[in-house]
Symmetry: C2
Subunit: 341 residues, 2 copies
DNA sequence: CTGAAAGCGCTTACAG
DNA sequence: CTGAAAGCGCTTACAG
């Protein structure tokens, strides 16, 4: 491999000067800098990551702690992180935290302690308190993305507002019998996403004068949504609209409507959350989140944190109206300028 | 940060001995080894990646070159790679090769040349010849996964056999009017996956005495499959079965059948390829591949290559029969023991 | 089996 | 603006 001395020789300067020319740090004449850079490009020389890291204490590498690495959403987040990091000259190494105890310990107690990274992005992994302790003990800048703990800074979307946006969209169309499919109150109700969405739904409904809006529990899958929606549709007063806590749940609800011979949106309106890549095909109205952009934001935030700056803030979302929602059949939709009684 | 000298002091030995005890290399008494390891565990000491890499020339890190990091399949492959690598003490850093020219150059000419990795796994990125040149110039062990070049070793599934399995499943059920939806002949027909699948289909049909089986082109999406299937179903002699080159295409075909009021599998059988996570919900018969296992195999293969060994071989696939395929209505299915005329 | 010492390839005060 | 030299934290022949 060609090293710094080869470049120094080719450019007729010392290794120190090569280092300065390439890193941009320290004063150096424009002429020498140009000569050195040309020589380096010529020889295809690139600074060794290990030597540079050892000498400076900076690894130019960011770790990303991910849950089961197999969800559509996370893959998109990763892509966003990677693209932003790359443009700043950082690499990205992945640490996957599954449910396997030994594996998690390995990540926290060994992998992450090797000093390979300058900072950490933690995607929404659910961490036990002692795991957070160990992560903080690393003394590394940490940025969470929808983290389920508040012990390190995290980018979040305002999930209460997300749920309100979906619910108010339905209310605005004239629906009153609106049901929610999601998960029950699980972890910290102030941070747990399913809890926040359910809470946002309930409070939007209450504000509209509908205190006990129906709820059905489901895990975040098509199957779960399908089953829950079927149950909801069998009630004596079936809902005219469903707010599903995720797009996959919503897909399940859409299938349930077809199975029951219901027209969407004529008989049943459905709105989801996520912006799933298949949503367009299903014509699903949804509150889209932007995983790729979230990844970029997270990358910017760690880089800022590594730099001692703070770039924590709220993440965007947007209601995307498609064909799965409309006014209820025979419903009294509010018409602009003619307020309902 | 606690360093090797702290451990040496605590254990009452030299740094050299600590290094030997922790790495397992070099002779050392059982007693000292135990004492050193205890001291290290006590202090939470872990060898610095940078220092170790610089001293040994080994980074204990594998690079994974990935295409647009946003497909379900790749996410699963990555998960497989990560889990296997982690258990061998290796980290995994990702290099994403999008369509952006500058970004690809950055990966090939800079990131990968930093010496951060001991080996490379290349997921099915389509590489230009000069890009392959530059990758080989790295002089790193490289293992491809379904690579579109034969200039480095790669793990592959026998795509001809995959297509035959799907087609023969349909033929065995008694279908004769079988259509294929896939992509046209694109790259190297001997390596390009869509081409191989189409070719496998055509040859299985030809072997069954059906030379010019219908084909419709589509990109590998639900929309593409939907459109192509609709076209196929409008023919004078619509197919009784469709072999789709991917599960997403197959989903599109399933939707097309519903749109046309066709019963699946009564009026139309559909078989896909992939083992998509939603396949079960759709009841889709498919030729499943195993992305997680593929990832593990790829990890094993680079590790072997780093070690100078060869572990290249074929990847598994399996026909998974669900409810989207059956004998054609009124078709003359072969009955066991009663061969058809 | 164990230690002292050189060396891995850079970076950065320190001089000049 | 530029160079000589020490140092980053390990590993590994070389002695003993």
């Amino acid at each position: 491999m060609t090293g710094i001395d080869d470049v120094a020789r080719a450019a007729g300067v010392s290794a120190a000067t090569v280092s300065r020319a390439l890193s941009g740090r320290g004063r150096i004449s424009d002429a020498t800098r140009a000569r050195v850079r040309a020589a380096a490009a010529d020889l295809g020389y690139v600074v060794s990551a290990a030597a540079s890291a050892l000498a400076t204490g900076r690894a130019s590498n960011v770790g990303v702690v991910v849950p089961l690495l197999d969800r559509w959403f996370f893959a998109n987040v990763l892509d966003g992180i990677a693209s932003r990091l790359a443009s700043e000259g950082y690499d990205m190494t992945l640490y996957s935290m599954s449910d396997d105890r030994a594996q998690r310990d390995g990540v926290l107690d060994t992998s992450l302690r090797r000093g390979r990274v300058d900072g950490l992005i933690v995607l929404s992994v659910t961490l036990a308190d002692d795991e957070v302790d160990r992560m903080l003990a690393l003394e590394l800048p940490v940025v969470g993305l929808s983290a389920t703990t508040s012990r390190f800074p995290a980018l979040r979307v305002d999930e209460l507002a997300v749920a309100r946006a979906a619910t108010e969209h339905l209310l605005g169309l004239g629906h009153r019998r609106i049901a929610h499919i999601g998960a029950g109150y699980a972890g910290d109700p102030g941070l747990d996403i399913p809890s926040l969405r359910r809470h946002g739904f309930a409070s939007a409904m209450a504000d509209a004068g509908i205190p006990d809006a129906p709820f059905a529990a489901a895990d975040f899958t098509i199957e779960g949504g399908h089953r829950a929606a079927l149950a909801l549709l069998e009630r004596d007063d079936p809902p005219t609209a469903i707010f599903a806590a995720s797009d996959e749940i919503a897909f399940g609800a859409l299938f349930a409507a077809r199975d029951r011979g219901l027209d969407v949106p004529g008989d049943l309106s459905v709105v989801g959350v996520d912006g799933h890549e298949m949503g367009d095909f299903f014509g699903l109205t949804t509150v889209a989140q932007f995983p790729h952009e979230q990844g970029e934001r997270a990358a910017d935030a760690v880089l800022a944190a590594i730099d001692g700056r703070d770039e924590i803030g709220d993440l965007a979302f947007r209601l995307v109206e498609r064909t799965s929602t409309s006014a209820p059949r025979g419903g009294l939709a509010e018409v602009a300028g003619r307020p309902s009684p």
